[in-house]
C-alpha cells in the first residue's frame, strides 16, 4: 500500500483547524464578556 501522506496531512490539518477554531471561539466569547 502507498504511503498516502496527503491523507495523513489532511487528518492532522483538520484536527489543528478544529482545535484552534474551538479555542479561538472560547477566547473571543471571554473577551466579549470582559467588555
Amino acid at each position: 500500500m502507498g504511503d498516502n501522506w496527503s491523507f495523513v496531512l489532511a487528518a492532522y490539518g483538520l484536527a489543528v483547524v478544529v482545535v484552534l477554531g474551538y479555542w479561538r471561539m472560547l477566547v473571543r466569547r471571554e473577551k466579549d464578556l470582559d467588555q
Binding site: 487528518a11 472560547l26 471571554e30 464578556l33
Partner: protein, 215 residues
C-alpha cells in the same frame, strides 16, 4: 491555573505530534497512513471520557441541583461533540485509502454517528429551553440516557461483523501492538486528555461568567 494547564497541554500536544509523525515507525501493512491512528484513537477516548463525565455530572445535578454540576455536564458535552466529530472525520479520511471508501454503514460507524447526533441533540435541547432550571433538568435526563450508547459504540466491533477493526488497545488480554506504537499512543492519550481538561475548564469558567452576567 487554566493558563498553566494550557501551556502544559501545548507541550504535550507538540510531543504527541512529534511522536506520531516522526518517532513512531512506518507501519508495515498500511504504511504511513496508519499515523492517523495517533489522532483518531485519542479523539474517541476523549469523547468517551467527556460523555462519561456528562453522565456523572448529570446524576449529580439531579441529586443535588448544583449549578456547578450542570455547567460541568454542559461543557463536557460540548467538548465531547467536538471530539466525536473529529473522530468521525479522521476515521473517514483514514478509511478511504485503507478500505477504499469514505463511509460505510457498519455497526461502529453507525453507532458512533448516533452518539454524535444524540449529544448534538443534547446541546440543541439546552439552547432551545429558555428556563435555565428546566433546561438543565431535561438535559441531565438526556445526558444519562445517551451515555448508554457508549458501551454500544465500543463493543459494536465485537458484537457485530464490521469493516472497522476490533479494538487493539482498550481490550482485555495481552496487547498485540509493538511497544513503540503503544508508547506513541499513550503520549497522545495524555495530550488529548489534557486538552479535554483545558477546554472543559475554560468552557465552565465561561458558562459561570455568562450565568453571573444574566442573573
Amino acid at each position: 491555573m487554566v493558563r498553566v494547564l494550557g501551556a502544559v497541554t501545548v507541550v504535550a500536544l507538540a510531543a504527541g505530534l512529534v511522536a506520531g509523525l516522526g518517532l513512531a515507525p512506518r507501519e508495515a501493512t498500511q504504511g504511513n497512513v496508519q499515523r492517523i491512528m495517533y489522532l483518531h484513537v485519542p479523539s474517541v477516548w476523549v469523547a468517551y471520557l467527556a460523555f462519561a463525565v456528562v453522565f456523572v455530572a448529570s446524576i449529580a445535578y439531579l441529586a443535588k441541583r448544583a449549578e456547578a454540576a450542570d455547567q460541568l455536564a454542559h461543557a463536557s458535552a460540548e467538548v465531547g461533540v467536538l471530539f466525536t466529530g473529529l473522530t468521525i472525520a479522521t476515521g473517514s479520511i483514514w478509511g478511504k485509502p485503507t478500505w477504499g471508501t469514505w463511509w460505510t454503514w457498519d455497526a461502529r460507524l453507525t453507532s458512533v454517528s448516533i452518539l454524535f447526533v444524540m449529544y448534538l441533540g443534547y446541546l440543541l435541547l439546552r439552547g432551545m429551553i429558555e428556563d435555565r432550571e428546566r433546561g438543565a433538568r431535561y438535559a441531565a435526563v438526556l445526558g444519562i440516557v445517551a451515555a448508554f450508547n457508549i458501551p454500544l459504540v465500543h463493543f459494536s466491533v465485537t458484537w457485530w461483523r464490521t469493516l472497522h477493526q476490533p479494538p487493539s488497545l482498550m481490550k482485555p488480554g495481552p496487547g498485540t501492538m509493538p511497544p513503540v506504537i503503544v508508547a506513541t499512543l499513550l503520549v497522545n492519550f495524555v495530550a488529548f486528555s489534557l486538552l479535554y481538561a483545558y477546554f472543559v475548564a475554560k468552557r465552565v469558567r465561561l458558562l459561570r461568567r455568562e450565568a453571573e452576567a444574566t442573573s
